[in-house]
């Protein structure tokens, strides 16, 4: 039969218990972290561009001519990345129309659309169907989207009259929500 090893003494008596306690604590912490995470799908998103000058936009407009972001200095600009085939874009569109109409009289804010992953022809058809008369710029190589770090669509940035970016939304916006953001920004005295 196999020879037995003399007991190693009390030194290891409680090792298992202490290791169990330590491992238990680590796992409890781990579970705590997991339990307090919100789902990765989020609407208001952070961007490194917040508070910085908005990257310039200049390109061929959908209705001819050249569209420039710089032309709208002095107003709030809602830069809206969209296309004709994305369902949330379609759902968001009436809100953009409402926002544009609300500010058409006062002239303190405009919408600027940027086509993402779509052809001008499709977008023209889309606009005749769904309305909207704000300037839209074509971005066939996606360079504007790259400059703004756009991930999906729709995605919307709010640019303040002084040209800094004050907010970014990575899903549908509402006219009221955007107005609320504008009010907050004005209220903060900036």
């Amino acid at each position: 039969m196999t020879a037995t090893v003399p007991p190693t003494g009390r030194r290891r008596g409680h090792t298992a218990r202490w290791v169990a306690v330590a491992v238990g604590l680590i796992i409890a912490l781990f579970v705590g972290v997991l339990a307090t995470r919100s789902p990765a799908i989020d609407t208001e998103a952070d961007t490194p561009l917040l508070g910085r000058q908005a990257p310039p936009i200049e390109g061929p407009g959908l209705d001819g001519g050249t569209v420039r972001l710089a032309d709208h200095r002095g107003k709030f600009v809602l830069i809206n990345f969209f296309n004709s085939w994305c369902v949330p874009c379609r759902e968001e569109h009436p809100e953009l129309v409402k926002f544009a109409a609300r500010h058409a009289a006062t002239g303190d804010a405009v919408v600027l659309g940027v086509i993402r992953d779509d052809t001008p022809d499709e977008v023209r058809r889309y606009r005749t169907e769904h309305g909207g008369d704000w300037p839209v710029v074509d971005d066939p190589r996606g360079v504007v989207a790259l400059d703004y770090g756009v991930r999906g669509q729709p995605e919307t940035f709010i640019v303040a009259p002084d040209g800094t970016i004050v907010a970014r939304y990575i899903s549908r916006i509402t006219a009221d929500g955007v107005d609320e953001t504008l009010r907050r920004y004005r209220g903060s005295g900036a």
């Binding site: 037995t4 298992a16 169990a20 238990g24 339990a35 789902p39 369902v87």
Partner: protein, 660 residues
């Protein structure tokens, strides 16, 4: 009707599981063998409920019963029969039903297997543990993951159909069930581990009882992961097979701890050591399957494979916490009895190699787990959102994988207890020469990249070591030399080597290109001439497809396609692959031409040895089967297999542990 029957069956399974737990626990606590014998009958009721629920679900899917919400959302009239059947695991609720069915099946087989020992408390507690897991999963189906919920309002005329990616390739019929057979299979060894802790019979008996169960679960998990990689390659269209994506990682984690277990369990059987460690590995494997399901289903991490999200996240996390807490509590409580009587004589021995193997696998699992959840941890520590992707995993796991290849080469040559220099020389010389020759040949042929070359050299070394063992065994015992744990294990090792070499080659020596071609135009990538011939529109029951005809090297036309499914926003690409023993040419259509003679954009990926990944996976599956067959019978007098009664162990309460 289907919904009512299904829900009733789920209810039956749930109640039976609860009743089984109650009866068995009473019998165990009050020591009533009659109750133990009746209690196990409830397992058959659970199985009955699960089977009827599954049949109801299948009937609903096949008859397109859109009064059920699950069917309306994941099936359509145009869905082909195969994808109606697989619809059961196309989304969360149905997957949980599949989980419940597999679990009930395993439990029933276990109860039948141990029918002559129903009064044994070890079997009793194991059954209770298994039934508790069943209570949880059938409870989920009665609560937030109810697959039989009815649609609100009017019954829709047609459903939305399964996710396009899940009605694109027949592999979807095999990959998830295999994965679940693997995941759920670990419940049985886990249940026996818990039972051993509760009864205090932590000797080696429970290990021998569950050895083959673990092996089967491990084999299914291996096959499931392999088929998943194959599915990725055939469907997702980026030319890869492993992206270190969270969903892939969490299926890989239990595989890593499970692999560590099936190695270290041999040390416990032979030398009665590493008991706490082995229990912990089983607990970790089971818990990681639950944690994995949580991560993929709760939406805390996004992934290409996560096809649904729901409110069951917190419940899964809670179940994970309870399972871990109970297990750790039991291990802490039984800590004294678990102290191992044996000791390792020399690090240069079989048990020393297994120990090193376990450290490597544990480190591997730690790196994968840390990398997967680190974005969440960093966020909790106040860091910005960060990503942890392929560069991290490649860099961190590469040295561990190389170390494992080395151990795989050396360990089969090592004897138990202690190895002499002479013996090592005799056993390792030729395998080592094989490895060296492979390395020199690769360098001579102009291959570069140190890690890749190391993988090739060590792979050849390990393969030669495995072949040496198999040759010796077959010389001694004829064809029987191929079966049994040791020799079947060597076949598995060969499969692992084939995969490791193919993986390293495909990752290091691939080429990618993207070409804008008019009909008749050609492009050349890595020595292959790709000629675009034109497109064809095709109508299928569930989709419309634009298929490009692309000739590769004058032999054969391949048809990468873009599919449009109803209810899907974007076109889904289907790659087409020219499979070769040496190189795969992988074609995808990036954009279809606007007119018939317009330009199409075709992406081409040329990667070597990809087909050997699947062959290696098959070899692993075959090897696992061989390992599960009973090998050469050992005589009990043979020194290595003699059971080791531990003198400083408290006497076992019941003498049924005389495992043969």
């Amino acid at each position: 009707m289907n919904a009512a029957v299904g829900l009733g069956a789920v209810f039956l399974a749930f109640l039976s599981a609860v009743a089984g737990v109650a009866v068995l626990t009473t019998g165990l606590v009050r020591n009533r063998p009659t109750l133990l014998r009746t209690g196990r009958v409830y397992v058959w009721l659970v199985l009955g409920g699960a089977v009827v629920a599954t049949l109801a679900m299948q009937r609903a899917l096949l008859t397109h019963d859109f009064s059920m919400r699950y069917v309306a959302e994941h099936n359509a009239r145009a869905t082909p029969t195969l994808y109606s059947i697989t619809g059961m695991w196309s989304a969360l609720e149905g997957s949980i039903l599949l989980w419940g069915l597999v679990l009930a099946g395993y439990l029933a087989v276990a109860v039948r297997h141990f029918r002559h020992r129903a009064a044994d408390p070890l079997v009793g507690w194991a059954t209770v543990t298994g039934l508790l897991v069943a209570v949880f999963f059938f409870g989920l189906m009665l609560g937030p993951a109810n697959p039989f919920r009815e649609v609100a309002g009017a019954i829709p005329v047609d459903g939305r159909g399964p996710n396009p990616l899940l009605q694109n390739h027949p592999l979807v019929a095999f990959h998830p069930p295999m994965l679940y057979l693997g995941y759920v299979g670990f419940t049985i060894p886990f249940a026996f581990a818990i039972a051993a802790l509760i009864t205090g019979r932590v000797g080696e008996g429970w290990l021998v009882e569950t050895r083959r169960w673990t092996l089967f679960a491990w084999g299914f998990l291996t096959a499931g992961i392999g088929l998943g990689a194959w599915w990725s390659y055939e469907v997702l269209g980026w030319g890869g097979f492993w992206a270190w994506d969270p969903v892939e990682n969490v299926s890989f984690l239990p595989w890593l701890t499970g692999t560590a277990f099936i190695h270290s369990v041999m040390v416990q059987e032979r030398r009665a050591m590493l008991r706490v460690w082995n229990l912990s590995l089983l607990v970790a494997t089971f818990s990681l399957t639950i944690l994995g399901t949580f991560i993929t289903r709760s939406g805390v991490l996004t992934s290409v494979h996560a096809f649904s999200e729901s409110a069951i996240g917190p419940l899964l996390l809670g179940f994970f916490a309870v399972a871990v807490a109970v297990s750790i509590g039991l291990i802490g409580w039984r800590g004294d009895r678990l102290r191992s009587p044996g000791a390792i004589d020399s690090p240069v021995s079989r048990e020393g190699a297994f120990l090193a193997n376990n450290v490597a696998f544990a480190a591997f699992a730690f790196v994968v787990l840390l990398g997967t959840v680190f974005p969440l941890l960093a966020e909790a520590l106040g860091e910005d959102k960060i990503s942890v992707g392929r560069p991290y995993f490649d860099r961190m796991t590469m040295p561990i994988a190389l170390a494992l290849l080395f151990l795989m080469a050396v360990a089969p040559a090592l004897p138990w207890r202690k190895a002499s220099g002479d013996l090592l020389h005799r056993r390792l010389l030729w395998p080592a020469w094989a490895g060296t020759a492979a390395l020199v040949a690769c360098v001579a042929f102009g291959l570069r990249g140190l890690a890749t070359l190391a993988a090739f050299g060590l792979g050849a070394f390990a393969a030669a070591a495995a072949v040496r063992q198999l040759v010796l065994a077959t010389r001694r015992q004829g064809w029987r030399g191929l079966i049994g744990r040791t020799n079947g294990g060597m076949v598995v090792h060969l499969g692992v080597v084939v995969i490791a070499v193919a993986f390293a080659a495909a990752q290091s020596y691939g080429h990618r290109g993207e070409f804008r071609l008019s009909p008749g135009q050609s492009a050349v990538l890595a020595g292959h001439r790709i000629t675009y011939l034109g497109v064809e529109d095709k109508q299928y029951a569930n989709r419309n497809a634009v298929e490009a005809m692309v000739r590769v090297d004058d032999d054969g036309v391949f048809r990468p396609a873009l599919n449009r499914f109803p209810f899907a926003r974007e076109a889904i690409g289907t790659p087409s692959v020219r499979v070769g023993g040496f190189e795969d040419v992988y074609l995808t259509m990036i954009s279809a031409p606007r007119t018939a003679d317009g330009e199409a954009v075709i992406a081409v990926v040329v990667q070597p040895l990809v087909v050997w990944l699947w062959i290696g996976g098959g070899l692993m599956a075959v090897g696992t089967l061989m390992a599960a067959l009973p090998g050469r019978r050992r005589r009990p007098t043979e020194p290595a297999s003699a059971t080791v009664p531990a003198a400083d162990d408290p006497p076992e309460p019941v003498a049924v542990e005389a495992a043969v």
